[in-house]
């Protein structure tokens, strides 16, 4: 089981890519799908690698993503 998870609020995202670039375990990638404003939000591609460090949440300028650790 992964140590943590990320939650994405798709409609807030502006597709800057900070979370994708700075995720230490490379959990995310920018999706090819659009949100209603026409941006490409991130999507989880390697959920099992997520450590729940919340660095994506700290980098996000739009408060659209955060990470949290799973309860053990």
């Amino acid at each position: 089981m992964a140590k943590g998870f990320v939650a994405i609020t798709v409609e807030r995202c502006k597709g800057c890519g900070f979370c994708v670039e700075f995720c230490p375990t490379k959990v995310l990638t920018l999706s090819s799908a659009f949100n209603s404003k026409g941006y490409h939000p991130p999507q989880v591609v390697a959920a099992d690698k997520c450590s729940g460090c919340d660095l994506c949440g700290m980098y996000c300028p739009d408060f659209a993503i955060f990470g949290a650790r799973n309860a053990r």
Partner: protein
């Protein structure tokens, strides 16, 4: 549209949500702008510092960063251009119990509000000044500001800036600030820790945050988008805690020295006021107590 987007699970709540006015989000800042990241760090610092949010006030001036007060779920004040610090000074004097944070940009704090900044630092007013420095006047269209480095192309300097820029950290130290630090939007952890530290520190504290402005500054100077700028910060910034601030000037593409430069104790405004008045007036002087309004 082959992929489908997964939205946030219903039971998950973003940890910064309690510190934001969620109904006003999405905010107006451009994609790739760093101001949102600084607000994110600020919210986390508030969370960590466990302050009573009824005793925290945030004051902003005008500009892109001036919008921060409107998004923070605190007692927030959006003041006139350059006057965030005098407003905050008044707020602090009237109610010394308040933790007053001034959150504004480089143009607001150092151009039109430059005088207010140096005098508040000189008096060592107990204010926490957070300056998001995007090196330009962003909201008005990218004009040359007091912190724009040499050789940069801007709306008002199409052939390059030739005026020397302010070194904000050196200015703050020289004027008498008790705490001076500089980070970029890449250094989120350090920035959040610094913000938490100033919440506990007494006296005039100053944090400069170098932030990308992809729409105006980076685009005109062919420096890529917000993400490219973050990578650039990662590449050129160097952490040197305690470095002499005179060596920390910014250039267009040179090294960015970051870190905590100054952390000293100076007598605060109230201490100096009380000491002087007690010395002069003796028993006739009554030290003003913090007034607390029973209704709030």
């Amino acid at each position: 549209m082959s992929e489908c987007l997964v939205d946030i699970p219903a039971d998950a709540i973003n940890p910064v949500e309690p510190y934001l006015r969620s109904e006003r989000i999405p905010h107006i800042w451009c994609p790739g702008c760093g101001i949102g990241t600084t607000v994110n760090c600020f919210a986390r610092a508030l969370d960590e510092s466990k302050l009573d949010l009824n005793k925290v006030a945030i004051v902003s001036g005008i500009g892109c960063t001036g919008r921060v007060a409107g998004y923070a779920a605190l007692d927030s004040f959006h003041t006139t251009h350059g006057r965030a610090i005098p407003f905050a000074t008044g707020l602090k004097l009237a109610n010394p119990e308040l933790q007053v944070v001034v959150y504004s940009g480089d143009g607001d704090l150092f151009a039109i509000g430059g005088n207010h900044f140096i005098h508040a630092a000189r008096r060592n007013m107990d204010l926490k000044v957070i300056c998001v420095n995007n090196l330009t006047y962003a909201m008005t269209g990218g004009q040359t500001g007091p912190a724009t480095p040499d050789h940069v192309i801007s709306t008002t300097s199409p052939y390059g800036v030739f005026e020397p820029a302010f070194n904000l950290v050196q200015l703050a130290e020289a004027a008498g600030a008790a705490y001076v630090a500089r980070w970029t939007t890449f250094h989120v952890k350090q920035l959040a820790r610094s913000m938490e530290e100033v919440m506990k520190k007494r006296g005039f504290c100053f944090i400069e945050i170098i932030s990308p402005c992809p729409t105006l500054y980076q685009r005109r100077n062919k420096m890529g988008d917000g993400l490219d700028t973050m990578k650039f910060y990662k590449q050129v910034s160097k952490i040197r805690n305690g470095a002499p601030t005179s060596e920390c000037g910014l250039t267009k593409s040179g090294e960015i020295v970051v870190g905590k430069f100054v952390d000293r104790d100076r007598p605060g405004y109230f201490e100096m006021l009380n000491a002087q008045m007690t010395e002069t007036l003796g028993d006739r002087y009554v030290i003003p107590e913090a007034s607390s309004c029973g209704d709030c």
